[in-house]
């Protein structure tokens, strides 16, 4: 029985034992980035770990802050990112990127991309909670940002983006409703994380779709070859496909993976806050677990995971709990009645290949 998601709920559900923490002896590192001008407080992290982190070895503070941390109030999203990245990827050096204090004419997310292009040594895993509707961004901007992700992938950085919290999204194009994909979630060079919840919210049971979980098909990027087989299989076999006029069947489909996104406890401004939800929560959880796998790879003398998707799809999501129940939200009209895509066996555009089963995922991602 539990009253909301805490680190021990996460660690139990994803089969992380007290031994599954960073060794503290490698150059392993991870980072979270948010662009909401929010701050996190070290004191909140200490309180959070005192409340929820006693059962596993963890670091008591963030290793490196990029961008000013103000003296203002802590933000829930900034607190959530740090606390759950350092709980899932426990005892691993953690950086926080936040953009307060930037010049008023600058774009926070663009400043983060410049940092990636200017720092030789960066953490291996980056979890990022940022997204915009694809249709609101210029193609020049989207294509250039996508190239920045290619640069990061070539360097072996693992970029995880939240898939968004509006399900398939919805907008009207010349009077007709269509689903509304999100970017950078739709970039073929990042790993996108969707959201799930427990079938019974008060027990650690199997997971079903969290109806907010962002997912769908890009209108900008064609489907990359690494996901062709999985997506075609879904399009052929899903019994609940929405009308094809709602989405671009040949687009890059996302998310790639998922994790719990409903009912988190967070400590912000010294207050424990329940029921915080969103894929901004599932993303640092999945990122922390990839950091643990990097830890084992580094200790075995292997390179870190880098851009995960080609391997993830080649291995058909081995090592992940497949989520096969539930659908996410979309347009509220008679045609689709608020329902977007539905999960199913294998990959689906709501939870991707599913949620991490650590020991099994470690086994499939340790070699080569």
């Amino acid at each position: 029985l539990h009253l909301g998601v805490t680190p021990s709920v996460i660690r139990q559900r994803y089969n992380l034992t007290a031994r599954d923490v960073g060794s503290g002896t490698t150059n392993n590192s991870q980072a979270c980035a948010q662009f909401l001008e929010q701050y996190f407080h070290d004191s909140d992290l200490i309180k959070f770990m005192r409340l929820f982190g006693e059962s596993f070895v963890h670091q008591k503070s963030v290793a490196h802050v990029v961008g000013q941390q103000g003296k203002g109030l802590a933000g829930i999203e900034a607190s959530l990112d740090v606390q759950y990245l350092m709980s899932a990827g426990a005892n691993i050096s953690t950086w926080v990127y936040s953009s307060p204090g930037r010049h008023e004419a600058q774009e926070p997310f663009l400043q983060w991309l410049l940092l990636l292009s200017n720092e030789s040594s960066l953490p291996h895993v980056h979890t990022v909670s940022y997204g915009d509707d694809e249709d609101s961004l210029s193609s020049a901007y989207i294509q250039r940002v996508n190239t920045e992700f290619m640069k990061a992938a070539a360097r072996g950085l693992t970029l995880l983006f939240a898939s968004g919290d509006s399900g398939a999204g919805c907008w009207s194009v010349s009077g007709k409703h269509r689903f509304r994909p999100s970017f950078p979630a739709s970039s073929p060079y990042v790993t996108t994380v969707g959201g799930t919840c427990f079938q019974n919210p008060f027990f650690i049971t199997n997971e079903i779709v969290d109806y907010i979980s962002g997912g769908g098909f890009s209108n900008v990027f064609p489907r990359p070859s690494y996901q062709e087989e999985a997506v075609v299989q879904f399009l052929k076999s899903s019994p609940h496909l929405p009308p094809s006029t709602y989405f671009n069947t040949s687009g890059r489909a996302y998310p790639d993976v998922a994790a719990l996104s409903d009912g988190y406890w967070v400590v912000s401004n010294s207050m424990p806050i329940p029921w915080v939800s969103g894929t901004s929560a599932s993303t640092p959880v999945f990122g922390g677990i990839l950091s643990l796998i990097n830890e084992h790879r580094i200790l075995s003398g292997r390179p870190t995971l880098g851009f995960l998707n080609p391997r993830l799809y080649q291995q058909h999501g081995a090592g992940l709990f497949d989520v096969t129940h539930g659908c996410h939200e979309s347009c509220l009209n008679e045609e689709v009645e608020g329902q977007g895509f539905c999960s199913g066996p294998g990959w689906d555009p709501v939870t991707g290949w599913g949620t991490p089963n650590f020991p099994a995922l470690l086994k499939t991602l340790l070699n080569p």
Binding site: E77, E107, S117, R144, K151, C197, G306
Partner: protein, 176 residues
């Protein structure tokens, strides 16, 4: 002249309000995304280092390798720098890969440089953030079309948080 971002949304996001034009002498910091080279090759390398079946799997590039591969051509670097210096930009700094250039300009200089742009103060978002943006589209001289992808800091507003407190657990809501 041409507009590098004709399809960029410029409407005000919900919850943001304009506080009026920016003083012409106020300083701006704008980011210029310079055209890169060898992107096909970059894409091949990403595939090679990310595919477990590839002999090059896990043999990642360093930042310096990436810079050497994709940095803008000398012509692009020279053309853009000359254009910016002629406009009076100062305090320009680049990044290791040389494909971004951030410069300071006065509003007056920026509005002359980026034809059509008009900078306003805006405030909004969950933390009442202040930003300077242009609700009007900007144009660049046609000669720059092969050298500049876009100019950052004119149209896109900071994102808003999507994390929310859902008072009741989701399943209860679904059952309801």
């Amino acid at each position: 002249s041409y507009n590098p971002e004709p399809d960029q949304r410029r409407t005000l996001p919900p919850g943001w309000v304009s506080l009026g034009r920016v003083d012409p002498e106020e300083e701006l910091s704008l980011t210029f995304a310079l055209r890169q080279q060898n992107l096909e090759r970059l894409s091949e390398l990403v595939q090679a280092v990310s595919d477990p079946g590839s002999p090059r799997y896990g043999k990642y590039l360093t930042l310096e390798d990436v810079a050497e591969l994709i940095q803008p051509s000398p012509l692009t670097l020279h053309t853009v720098q000359k254009w910016l210096l002629a406009a009076g930009a100062w305090n320009c700094h680049s990044v290791t890969t040389m494909d971004f250039l951030t410069c300071s300009l006065s509003v007056r200089q920026a509005e002359l440089l980026l034809l059509g742009a008009e900078f306003h103060h805006f405030v909004g978002g969950p933390t009442k953030t202040h930003v300077v943006r242009s609700p009007h589209p900007y144009q660049l001289p046609q000669a720059l079309a092969p050298h500049v992808d876009f100019v950052g800091g004119l149209h896109r507003f900071p994102p808003t948080s999507s994390v929310r407190q859902r008072p009741e657990p989701q399943v209860a809501r679904t059952i309801g």
